[in-house]
């Protein structure tokens, strides 16, 4: 039987949170008391998590895109991301795609799977965790698009928990 192996979602989440903890606590940066180096440290952690996401996205899309050529037009690639990649990663498709037809795309997900555990908590730890999750997700999108041949900048905003809006800017 050609089985598709599956793992409990909670196992993946535990692994993801642990990866974030390692990214936060890994040596590097002086983690000093004053605001400047704390901010630098925060950016370093953000960069690390985004880079992890990039690697995952780059590789994952190889598995997700195997059937046909997607063409060179960014819109086709972004549509693929919204449907096929979203389904593979988040078990649902993105809800809405907007574009200005000049290289900017906004992908909306009103119920972002990876944020659901955070509920509506606004404490510092939850906010930090949400940020890690989004940085990771942005990295994944950027990595996937890069492997499909599109160079982009990706950032995310929480609209109203658990809704997220991802902005993709084609370079």
């Amino acid at each position: 039987m050609a089985g598709e192996r599956a793992v409990a979602e909670s196992v993946f989440e535990l692994l993801m949170f642990e990866a974030f903890r390692v990214a936060r606590e890994a040596p590097g940066g002086d983690g000093g008391e004053d605001g400047a180096s704390a901010e630098a440290r925060r950016m370093e952690v953000k960069g690390r998590i985004e880079a992890m996401g990039f690697d995952v996205g780059y590789r994952k899309v190889e598995r997700s895109a195997t059937e046909k050529l997607l063409g060179r037009h960014p819109l086709e690639l972004i549509k693929f991301i919204c449907k096929d990649l979203w389904l593979a990663l988040f078990q649902k498709q993105a809800d809405r795609l907007q574009t200005n037809h000049r290289g900017m795309f906004v992908l909306n997900d009103g119920n972002f799977t990876w944020l659901k555990r955070l509920g509506h908590r606004t404490d510092e730890k939850s906010v930090a965790m949400a940020e890690h999750i989004l940085d990771f997700a942005c990295g994944i999108l950027r990595g996937a698009l890069t492997n499909l041949g599109l160079s982009t900048a990706v950032y995310a905003e929480i609209k109203e928990l658990p809704g997220v809006s991802f902005t993709v800017k084609v370079k």
Binding site: R59, V61, T66, L69, N147, L148
Partner: protein, 136 residues
């Protein structure tokens, strides 16, 4: 009677994998020519891409009695096969599809740096086995 001479996987910036299928004798002399023919055909792959939406591009170029068939992944990695007869496209396509599955698996492997030469013996063994099954 062998049906194929050489199989190459070409990545974004460099060849990722090469398999000589034509046997040991006279390898270095004809080996370089085989590589040359395949790399010359790369431009033809780009041309063929403009006309196809399928991954299998069939024969993209020829050089004397030799033909180059190609297949491109959605990630724009090119599989190129140098072979002697312009026949049995289904067999060639099946070979490419099976190699694509191996390629996907190795790309998913975090111990493989993507877009670099594939040095895994496991990968090589499996591609050779596919070549024996489909192209021998």
């Amino acid at each position: 009677r062998r049906r194929a001479d050489m199989f190459v996987i070409v990545g974004r910036s460099e060849p990722l994998y090469e398999l000589e299928l034509s046997g040991g004798s006279g390898a270095s002399a004809s080996g370089n020519l085989d590589q040359f023919i395949i790399h010359s055909a790369l431009d033809m792959v780009d041309t063929a891409l403009l006309q196809h939406t399928s991954l299998f591009l069939r024969t993209v170029d020829s050089f004397g009695e030799k033909f180059v068939s190609a297949y491109v992944t959605p990630s724009h990695v090119k599989f190129m096969l140098l072979h002697e007869r312009n026949k049995n496209e289904d067999t060639i396509k099946a070979f490419f599809q099976e190699v694509q599955e191996l390629f996907v698996k190795i790309t998913l492997n975090p111990f493989y740096t993507y877009d670099t030469a594939i040095t895994s013996k496991g990968f090589d063994d499996r591609v050779r086995a596919l070549a024996n099954r489909y192209l021998a």
